[in-house]
């Protein structure tokens, strides 16, 4: 059975394009706007969505995504509402892969089995749980895989040595290369180091591989698109939400973010 994620990468490759993944936090700035934002992102060329599950203490995220989490939690976002939002998205967009990204504690409190069931029912394709390394696979990864959810691994510059086989052993969907040593949105990724990292990744896995963390502009995304199978943009987009929140104009917010997404999507075309 071909998964939505695999189909998404195949379709892009056939057009000589890289896949564009976009990250937004569920419920930022509020549940309704956030859902409308997802629609706008798909309309403006996002190939897959990474939907952040808000957490009070996002250890691997920079200021932009921290602030997004706080906005969402303040506006009443919960894991249950995030799952509901995912289900709504799936009804409106039957083919666009949807990946939930976040931290383990809200899932642990919700209950791992209940979460996996709910995510499956909602039509979620994969999970990225930042603070669950392979050493903690019994917590969620094993059961998620069994249920048919792709457990997407982050590979970092510190992982590329002996540890790489351990990290990608149970990886599903695609491999997510963290292009900077650092937290989200704080530095700019260097193309050369991404190139050598991908050479190493291709030796070790046949899964598609995307690059993210530190890709902030269409120009940069275009360069990375020539190396990676996909590019993820998060903080730069979330920053646009933050900038527009101040204006209090949701339509402008959705239009601004949509325009930025369209420019990124255009940058996915390889020459």
């Amino acid at each position: 059975m071909t998964t939505r994620i695999a189909q998404c990468f195949e379709a892009a490759a056939s057009k000589n394009r890289a896949v564009l993944g976009v990250f937004v936090t569920a419920g930022d700035p509020d549940a309704q706007t956030s859902a409308a934002l997802l629609d706008s992102l798909v309309e403006n060329g996002a190939d897959f969505i990474e939907l952040g599950m808000p957490f009070s203490d996002p250890m691997a995220d920079g200021p932009a995504i921290q602030a997004a989490s706080i906005r969402a939690i303040k506006a009443g976002m919960t894991l249950q509402k995030t799952l509901d939002m995912a289900a709504g998205f799936r009804q409106r967009h039957p083919d666009t892969p949807l990946i939930l990204m976040g931290y383990f504690n809200p899932i642990y409190i919700y209950g791992q089995d209940a979460f996996i069931r709910a995510a499956k029912e909602a039509g979620v394709d994969g999970l990225i749980i930042v603070d669950l390394p392979p050493e903690e696979d019994v917590e969620l990864c094993d059961a998620a895989r069994e249920a048919g959810l792709s457990f997407i691994r982050l590979v970092t510059p510190t992982t590329l040595g002996d540890r790489l086989p351990v990290v990608i052993e149970k990886a599903g969907g695609f491999v997510y290369y963290v292009a900077i040593a650092g937290i989200t949105g704080t530095k700019s990724a260097a193309t050369d180091s991404i190139r050598s990292a991908f050479t190493r990744l291709r030796e070790e896995t046949d899964l598609p591989a995307v690059a993210g963390f530190g890709i902030r502009s269409a120009e940069q995304a275009n360069e990375v698109a020539t190396i990676a199978d996909g590019v993820v943009v998060g903080s730069a987009l979330v920053q646009k939400i933050e900038d527009a929140v101040g204006s209090g104009d949701d339509k402008k917010l959705i239009a601004d973010v949509g325009r930025f997404c369209a420019s990124l999507s255009a940058a996915m075309q390889r020459k």
Partner: protein
């Protein structure tokens, strides 16, 4: 450093860093190689005689160990009942038990070839101890401290700066200890090759809870010898305050297998356990995952971490070390609590009766002792860890004592 016996309370964590369901290594992939490296290096170092000798040397000549075990005769008479001894870790260089752990980790960092140190701090005691060790060993030092705590604990910020540390005022989240720890972890993620993270309590990803416990166990090991010399036997009960729980674990761990000894950990009840303003993770929280480990946390029904409150910045943390959570689950240690108000009264009482100004943290332990000792016979012996001195708290405490007519 620790014995292995199948019927022991002292042979955890297991290879995955677990104490029962607690502990573990819940960190981002960027940090995993670093955490594994610290584990490997620490497990080698603790078997290396030259490392242990160097640690012993600094414990003796720099910290001033062993710290005295002192019979608090006037407090004993005042409370009536069991004899109360203080393990006087407030006499250590830098004024608290924190230095015991910091020296161990700084020596380990040096051994691993790291030249730069990261630390988080709440009240500033761990930050000061880390800045001190970094001056001693010529290491660069960056301390992360919540902006709110920077304001509340200015004297300690000044001390850190004088010692050569760079203090980062953390404004993310609620600007207190948990946010300082988030920010220190983020900084470590961004600087994995050069930096060593010295965690100040028995929490965080494996091997930190084990390593910090081992470095603090000197407290309990000395206590065993000293009480045997003074009384010809082991004590009947132990009492220590708990924030993250490092001073308590240091005292308790060497006694865990002496099952006849009752052990009490005292959490901070803030304005009261029936309010939202406390820091009692065990009595008022539930298991969750934060800062690299599973442990009891103060959290919402949705799994968002709540703010803690205590008059003592050193206890003002919404989590607790995972080994304490396990000892709570199996019932080996009794976890109780004391409020801000009770701690304040002990701060004054101990100063007046013993000429020892306790930190607000051990004032919580004294508050429990004040109700516990009178219930025990006069031939019983209780040891309380006087884990820090109160000079740092004067500015905050004196106006409150004045209001209560206690000055």
């Amino acid at each position: 450093m620790r014995e292995k016996a199948s019927n022991s309370y002292r042979n955890l964590p297991d290879d995955n860093g677990r104490f029962g369901i607690h502990g573990g290594r819940f960190v981002a992939e960027t940090l995993m190689p670093l955490v594994l490296d610290v584990e490997k290096s620490y497990h080698a170092a603790r078997k290396d005689q030259s490392f242990l000798s160097e640690l012993l040397y600094y414990q003796k000549h720099y910290i001033g160990r062993p710290s005295p075990l002192y019979f608090a005769e006037r407090m004993t008479a005042h409370f009536g009942g069991a004899k109360l001894y203080f393990k006087r870790d407030e006499l250590n260089h830098t004024g608290a038990h924190k230095i015991n752990n910091v020296l161990g980790q700084a020596l380990l960092a040096k051994r691993m070839g790291k030249t730069k140190i990261i630390a988080e701090t709440g009240a500033g005691q761990h930050g000061v101890a880390t800045a001190t060790a970094c001056a001693l060993f010529n290491l660069e030092c960056e301390v992360f401290m919540g902006a709110e705590d920077v304001r509340r604990q200015k004297p300690n910020v000044d001390r850190m700066r004088l010692l050569g540390a760079k203090v980062h005022a953390v404004t993310s989240g609620t600007s207190t200890l948990k946010d300082a720890m988030n920010e220190a972890l983020r900084y470590w993620v961004a600087n994995p090759d050069t930096h060593f993270y010295i965690i100040g309590t028995v929490a965080g990803p494996h091997p930190y809870p084990e390593m910090v416990r081992d470095f603090q166990s000197v407290i309990g090991i000395e206590t065993r010898e000293q009480i045997t010399e003074a009384e010809g036997r082991l004590p009947d009960a132990l009492i220590a305050c708990i924030g993250g729980g490092s001073n308590a674990m240091g005292l308790f761990h060497p006694f865990l297998d002496d099952e006849e000894i009752e052990i009490y950990g005292v959490e901070a009840a803030g304005h009261g356990l029936d309010t939202d303003q406390h820091a009692a993770s065990l009595t008022g929280g539930s298991p969750g995952v934060l800062h690299g480990n599973r442990t009891y946390l103060l959290q919402t029904p949705e799994g968002q971490i709540k703010d803690a409150h205590s008059i003592s910045a050193g206890l003002d943390y919404p989590g607790i070390g995972p080994e304490h959570s396990w000892l709570h689950d199996i019932g080996r240690v009794n976890y109780v609590s004391a409020t801000d108000e009770e701690a304040l009264r002990m701060f004054q009482l101990c100063s007046r009766l013993e000429g020892i100004i306790p930190a607000l943290e051990p004032s919580h332990a004294l508050a429990f002792a004040s109700t516990f000792l009178p219930k025990m016979a006069a031939d019983k012996i209780v040891v309380l860890n006087m884990c820090g001195r109160g000079d740092k708290d004067l500015e905050a405490v004196l106006p409150l004592l004045d209001e209560r007519g206690l000055l």
